[in-house]
Symmetry: C2
Subunit: 276 residues, 2 copies
């Protein structure tokens, strides 16, 4: 894998767009970097940008950590009247479970492997995704690191205030059931190692167990010198296809049986520090 | 799911066999319970039992925690001459990557869903497994919580001193490449939340970051009153099939699109405290 990355050209990589990047700074000093996916859920992403710009999440906390499933943050206040105001964000959003955005079709790179959860799987805008060619729809897959908007029973009950991140075996049964706003591209370990909550569904039963969020900011609002400069391998590049192939059939001598297969959520999506 | 478990009969459950159960007690006070899988890798399991009986792992440590992959323990001593002696365990074991044990065929419950990693998948002896009907072989799948024997490049270079546990997205490319000794049935959260190591492959670069193991004992060697009494749902029972079906097609109103599918490693394997 390192060999393939080393052989890549600068044009095989794309910089993280500061308008599509959130920095979640935890009170324990760690930073989690999230890439937003505006072509999958434009209205949820617009709300998330507004929340970041207006400091909605600052001082809130991660209040759920369920083993082999998700962590989740938002406003822990249960009394609707006392909840933090949403500022200039939209109060009501439609469900954005699937998308017909042209950008997704344009960047679509199909994985040749069988998948039980979707007619086709591959990568769109750099995100692991499912695709239904008949319906013309794309949706982000619930792979490790995927960020989705929590909701109640109604499909249109998410407003992007509560976000969850997959920290376990891909819960792909949630695909096409949730509005997905992006994925973690750096700092997953600060979320995946949060002690599990003892309450139902991994909610912390004691408020002091919550992990405080200092701030979640849009990278574009942070001075350039303080940004985490990352670049991601383009999933519609030749080198990415080589990388996938090298993982479908491991060439190193450690492997005695080759899989001739890879699952969508096992494909590595290389991220590196940007030069300069 | 709880509804189905509540409707189960006592005969739908099997107790953990103390001869096939390891208790890993960590210095931080937490216990991890592992069910051994003698029909998958009889010689590795025999060695693991010997190590537990003779206290081989006591005082050693978890020395690797790699995000979205594995934790691993064993003897951190790199100088072969100074390594802890193996006692009466076998010094050399064959690779036990697949098995033709009759018990596996007898308990085999096939999952109807497509899988890219194996001709068939299902459950054998209660473990998630792959099966090649032509070859007559079974092998444990690398699902979350699976316990395998670390090795070097040679297929027969594992001796069950170094064990790893899957803590991330199922690395099924390792199926049929490793000798698998069992799976964690309780306490996964004490392994999955271990801070990740900063060294290559998640090894801790500072010895003080290692997680000390007080002891790993065979349950049969522990007084009955100190045992963790658990029982597991039989995977060849009718109620287990009902459970799988309820997860393939979620009946609750939260789900707007049903998957009509489940991946082997997404199937829950219920464990509960044994009564009495």
């Amino acid at each position: 894998m390192q060999e393939i990355i080393d052989g890549s050209k600068p044009t095989d990589w794309r910089p993280l767009d500061p308008q599509n990047t959130l920095y979640m700074d935890l009170a324990n000093g760690h930073r989690v970097v999230i890439e937003l996916a505006p072509h999958f859920s434009p209205q949820h992403v617009a709300n998330a940008r507004t929340f970041a710009k207006e400091g909605y999440w600052n001082g809130l906390a991660i209040m759920r950590s369920q083993d082999n499933f998700v962590v989740q943050w938002g406003d822990p206040e249960e009394d609707a009247a006392k909840k933090k105001p949403l500022g200039s964000a939209q109060k009501k959003l439609p469900a954005e479970f699937t998308s017909r955005d042209a950008s997704l079709a344009k960047t679509w790179t199909r994985l040749p492997d069988v998948d039980g959860w979707a007619p086709q799987v591959g990568f769109a805008d750099g995100f692991p995704a499912g695709h239904d060619a008949k319906a013309g729809t794309y949706w982000m897959a619930h792979c490790y690191g995927a960020v989705g908007a929590g909701r109640n029973e109604a499909a249109d009950s998410s407003d992007a205030t509560e976000l969850y991140v997959v920290t376990g075996q891909a819960p792909r049964q949630l695909d096409r059931n949730m509005s997905m706003i992006g994925r973690v591209v750096q700092g997953m370990e600060w979320l995946s190692t949060i002690p599990r909550g003892a309450g139902a569904m991994g909610f912390f039963d004691k408020p002091e167990q919550r992990v405080a969020i200092t701030s979640i900011k849009l990278a574009a609002d942070v001075p350039a010198a303080e940004r985490t400069k990352l670049e991601l391998m383009r999933t519609d590049s030749k080198v990415f296809n080589e990388l996938v192939e090298s993982r479908r059939n491991r060439r190193d001598a450690f492997y005695k049986v080759q899989a001739h297969h890879i699952d969508l959520c096992n494909v590595p999506l290389p991220v590196r520090e940007a030069k300069g």
